[in-house]
């Protein structure tokens, strides 16, 4: 039997996706009503999609609309299906795949706590300046930095802080918007 005809555990042989998974950023406009986040999360878990990151906040107060930004890794065919499934939910107004549109602008914010003394402390500050991280809290033996940027930049900053006395990190997850004059 051909190697690609592997049983999947379902009732039938299903050809495994030969497409490579890639990460896309989806922007979803929803009614800000109770349970909406559970509805979205339940859709992802129920259908076996993986959420890499998710941010949500009400963005239009008078209309009670929230914008949800979801980073999800899947094959191109599955990305299409995920968009269709999201669009099918009754409180979902619009779904946009910013990655597929090719004009997404994304940012993430992190708060990074680093403790240390002496030379480490000087080095920490020097690096923070290079990364344009702001000091938002300081004691004689610690700093909390606020850093924004692409996730890869934050990732890099955290890696550099590791040997200098990294204590803990919180991240907001990625949020994104399209470039240019058009709104969603």
């Amino acid at each position: 039997m051909n190697a690609k005809f592997q049983p999947t555990g379902s009732a039938y042989f299903i050809v495994p996706d030969t497409q490579n998974p890639e990460q896309h950023i989806l922007s979803v406009i929803v009614d800000n009503e109770p349970g909406i986040l559970a509805r979205i999360a339940g859709l992802f878990s129920g259908r076996g999609y993986n959420i890499d990151s998710l941010t949500v906040s009400e963005t239009e107060h008078e209309k009670h609309l929230s914008r949800i930004t979801i980073a999800v890794t899947a094959t191109p065919k599955m990305h299409m299906q995920i968009r269709m499934q999201l669009d099918r939910l009754v409180p979902v107004h619009r779904v946009l795949d910013l990655t597929a549109e090719g004009n997404g602008l994304e940012r993430e914010l992190a708060l990074v706590k680093v403790a240390g003394k002496g030379e480490n402390r000087v080095e920490t500050l020097r690096l923070a300046e290079a990364f344009r991280a702001q000091v938002v809290d300081a004691t004689t033996d610690s700093f909390v930095f606020e850093i924004t940027g692409k996730s890869s930049k934050i990732e890099q900053f955290i890696t550099l802080m590791q040997p200098l006395g990294l204590v803990e990190v919180v991240r907001t997850g990625r949020t994104a918007i399209s470039r240019g004059p058009e709104g969603m």
Binding site: M1, K4, F5, P7, G9, S10, A11, Y12, F13, I14, V15, V30, D31, P34, G35, A38, R39, G42, L43, G46, K77, M80, Q81, M84, Q85, D87, R88, L89, V90, P91, V92, H93
Partner: protein, 587 residues
Amino acid sequence: MAEQMTGAEIVIQALKDNGVEHIFGYPGGAVLPIYDALFQTEGIEHILVRHEQGATHAAEGYARSTGKCGLVLVTSGPGATNAVTGLTDALLDSVPLVCITGQVPTSLIGSDAFQECDTVGITRNCTKHNYLVKDVNDLARVLHEAFYVATTGRPGPVVVDIPKDVQFALGNYKKSANGATQHASYRPQTEGDSAAIEAAVDLMLKAEKPVFYTGGGVVNSGPEACEHLRELAALTGFPVTSTLMGLGAFPANNNQWLGMLGMHGTYEANLAMHDCDLMINIGARFDDRITGRIDGFSPNSMKIHVDIDPSSINKNITVDIPIVGDCASVLEEMVRVWRTKTNTSREDALKPWWKQIEDWRSVKSLSFKNSDTVIKPQYAVQRLYEAVKDRDVYITTEVGQHQMWAAQHFHFNEPKRWMTSGGLGTMGYGLPAAVGVQVAHRDALVIDIAGEASVQMTMQEMSTAVQYGLPIKIFILNNEYMGMVRQWQELLHGGRYSQSYSESLPDFVKLAEAYGGKGIRCSDPKELDDAIAEMIDSDLPVIFDCVVDKVENCFPMIPSGKAHNEIILPDTADIGSIIDDKGKVLV
């Protein structure tokens, strides 16, 4: 104009304004105010079931046989959880239901109160949409919206969870404006893209080996869709096959009908699907029972897919021309475009294809070896069909071998006559569904073609049938086995019949009598016709215990891990060798 009334009264008024005439339900603490308002209301009949699952299936049978929305009313906690199976069934088979559940008072939500459960949490993934109404002034709007969401687009079940204090509270009632609820975010697309329809017709005009593959979407779309399908089939001369859910949309007595396709579909239908050069899927969803092995599914065809649900398109099978829209409007447009492009018949061009189909038909894949001494289940369905075919008849089924035999040997010429659990495969569906159908069609002959295992899952609804004088006929093909489980164990698990034999069965005749119905038993093929006549003549609900061959298998069958052209026929000598080891590991 807004009118002051209690939440419970708002519920009843909203039901009336949305055309509800029948409710299937079961009272309990958290819905007592609604039952009290119902008590003081004329014009709505409540059918008291014996278990909430029965209420949901009865409402499904009611909805599918009428095209209206089914209404379920149950209490909080166990009332809601018992309804979950039926809601899931309705979701998978796209049946419009509104299910109203009682909830503990808002102040107690989250306190693990008596008969509290997180109904909206539990039903979120088994409904099209659900609501928890915490403010009585939202109640009317939510209820109108629930009916709108349940019945439009791809239909489905909607739950409205109403805490008891909201049912008591005074609030404003507003009729929905002309029933047309404008929804901010939910707007199903019903008109197909005209360029896509034109491209589809162009392919149809060139096709040499076309096939229409139709599904439950045509039935759901309504009688016009079925009319347009018949018109388009007549115009094009293409063969037509259908899924289990779509039976009746195209008449079985038409010569272009190939029979059902899929795992237990006919040889000609499955081979036509495999060998066609153009597949026109109308309102079906490329379910795994239909496609078989996906990489072997109809390898050389162009595929057109008409579906009202955009997420159905390219989900399982990638298609060439997707058309999102309601079957009725798309089919009507296809007929119109076809007429503008040609007025000559394509009979000659299709001749070789029809010749090929006739060859496949001559295999007679639904044949079986009959017996003089024991009733063959297929024979029982055939005799039942012959006895009732000229009547106003509705068929429901449970799930298993009997369901497939019913689909193969009972023939439907009209839509909405066939109620079965396709997507979820819910054993115990048929009896309560028959109750719901009979409520909607009091004078019709309603038969549940059942298996002795399935029917015991919801047998208590016999009591409902007796209470409301609903003369449903439960025609049990009794082989003492969970037949389909036994068949798979025989074919795939070396004949090790693990837990598929019912050591102890009730005496179905006495059981029927105990409920206040009529019981009939028949085990002799020569007496079968008379016994069926006796069943039909009875004014009571009847349990017919048809004792059939214990080990008959359901063929044809496309085994696990095989494509359409690897179908097993009934007289295949060595079935075991056809299924390979990889097929055996599949469910």
